[in-house]
Amino acid sequence: MSAAAWVTFALVGGFVWGGFLCLLAVALRKERGKRRQDHAPEGERGLWVP
């Protein structure tokens, strides 16, 4: 494979696969934050910002 092909592979693969994995990680982290908020004692609700 030529250098140009490797660069395209890295750019497109990094954008699509990297983007997907990063977004998925953020989505699941936000969800954990919301769940923690749901189970927090009454007085502590709203303090934890996901």
Partner: protein
């Protein structure tokens, strides 16, 4: 309304269900073919750009409309724009339902080929003989009924049933594609396929056809503008985010496409580099059902990998078919029909209108062309609906709503305007290409599988009927609370 069995149980389940909708056979059989025939690396750059400029803005729009109105496309368009515009939502539903009729045939093909791969019936001495003996036969009807029956059985269980099935099928599908891609990359000579897929030709970037193909692939591939994401979004929990989920869906779908491209092209270039142009030019069914069995047969443990390939294809087809059935079901539920009865009606229509596609490839191709391109109009209608409602008003009221993890800025307003422009450019380009290629007289013949005439005739009949029935379509909706009891 934060819980209840009529909503998704978790974000993970929702993401997998949405991915099940978006990842279909188009990712596995269309993307590699289109990428290969449009310059490989040259195609990938506009394809990645249109993911952000077409798919994600439209998916975001569908998520927001579904969650905000709690209705399928017909009810959502009516709620947003008023009763005069119900026909637009009905067009979106009609297009996807008509695709469902012939898509169940595709699901059936995948079932048959999986069985044939396990039993060793394919590739056989004469690879095309198996396809010729099966397609358009009674067995194609039987396998279509199997695919449709499984889909109806799952949808009858409601959104929690769909979610439970997708929680199993989607991780399995991604794993299968990953295993097959790794196998393909490790074949001798596979790097020729990688080089073909990823080498850019910068002069090709000025070719408008490549940009339009990249846009079309994104439109068909991600399911943006089909109304399917909207139908599923009616089951989002109140605290559920719309923005990041829409991005995850678009990027997740294209991730599977890219893996499938590597899997197919590395296999083709490793086994038959001499016939690569012929193989990728053989069309979706030619590549998948005639060439792939021959290619798999030539690699060690090929029968196993062939069976895994068709199993992955079936899972992709089934999860997308389920979302199409659910779209029809949800539309009827919004009109006060109980889920069980709605399933019965959709199933009956699926059998009646699916059988002609199973028995006649010409009819199948005609429907695939007419309603596949019709999705461009669906995407356009979504964009126009938001413009009419007010892009900024929609963004503030529906997109940046309760539960959103991030706030979407004004860039989305511009993106929606761009979506409308893209859809218009694409439609004009497609019209002009058809006329230029075939000439006025031939292109207006309405009785050919592929002609402008057949498109205009069928679209005209559909739009005429929907406009005539607009008042009835708009008024038949039951209150959201009643519909939710039926889900």
């Amino acid at each position: 309304m934060t819980g209840g069995n009529h909503l998704f149980s978790s974000r993970w389940g929702m993401i997998l269900t949405m991915l099940g909708m978006a990842v279909g056979t188009g990712n596995i059989w269309r993307f590699p073919r289109i990428a290969a025939s449009n310059g490989g690396g040259t195609f990938l750059i506009p394809w990645a750009i249109f993911l952000v400029l077409w798919s994600v803005p439209l998916l975001l729009c569908e998520f927001a409309m579904g969650k905000g109105t709690r209705r399928g496309p017909l009810g959502a368009f009516t709620a947003l724009l008023g009763q005069s515009w119900a026909w637009m939502g009905a067009w979106v539903v009609l297009c996807s339902i008509l695709i469902m009729f012939y898509y169940s045939v595709v699901a059936g093909w995948c079932v048959r080929y999986f069985v044939a791969a396990v039993s060793g019936e394919i590739p056989g001495a004469e690879p095309i003989a198996f396809w010729n003996g099966y397609a358009e036969s009674g067995w194609a009807v039987v396998t279509m009924l199997v695919g449709l029956g499984i889909g109806l059985f799952v949808v009858a269980r409601g959104i929690r049933g769909i979610e439970a099935v997708c929680r199993i099928l989607m991780p399995t599908l991604i794993l299968l594609v990953l295993v097959l891609a790794i196998r393909a990359v490790t074949l001798p000579g596979a790097m020729r396929g990688m080089a073909f897929l990823f080498t850019p030709d910068w002069s090709g970037m000025a070719d408008s056809r490549i940009w339009l193909e990249a846009l079309t692939q994104n439109a068909w591939d991600t399911g943006a503008g089909w109304g399917l994401a909207l139908a599923y979004a009616t089951y989002l929990r109140a605290r559920e985010d719309t923005t990041i989920n829409a991005f995850v869906l678009g990027f997740g779908n294209n991730s599977v496409s890219l893996l499938a491209g590597i899997m197919v092209l590395c296999t083709v270039f490793s086994i038959r580099p001499d016939a690569s142009a012929e193989i990728v030019g053989a069309g979706n069914t030619g590549l998948t059902f005639i060439w792939m069995p021959q290619l798999f047969a030539a690699i060690p443990a090929g029968r196993l990998f062939m069976a895994l390939f068709f199993l992955a294809l079936f899972f992709a087809a089934l999860t997308s078919l389920i979302s199409m059935i659910e779209l029809g079901t949800r539309t009827l539920i919004d009109r006060g029909v109980a889920r069980g009865r709605a399933i019965g009606l959709i199933g009956t229509a699926g059998v009646v209108f699916g059988v002609p596609s199973a028995l006649h490839m010409g009819f199948f191709d005609n429907q695939d062309n007419v309603w596949g391109v019709g999705l461009m109009l669906s995407g356009l209608f979504f964009g126009l609906a938001i413009l009419k409602y007010g892009v900024d008003r929609f963004r503030k009221q529906y997109v940046n709503s309760e539960g959103s993890d991030v706030t979407i800025g004004r860039w989305w307003n511009a993106a929606i305007v761009l979506v409308v422009l893209e859809a218009l450019v694409l439609l004009v380009w497609w019209l002009s290409q058809t006329i230029l290629t075939e000439g006025w007289r031939a292109s207006l013949d309405p009785f050919r599988d592929w002609s402008l005439g057949t498109f205009l005739l069928q679209w005209g009949i559909a739009l005429g009927l929907l406009l005539a029935l607009n008042r009835w379509l708009a008024r038949g909706q039951v209150p959201v609370a009643v519909a939710e009891r039926e889900t």
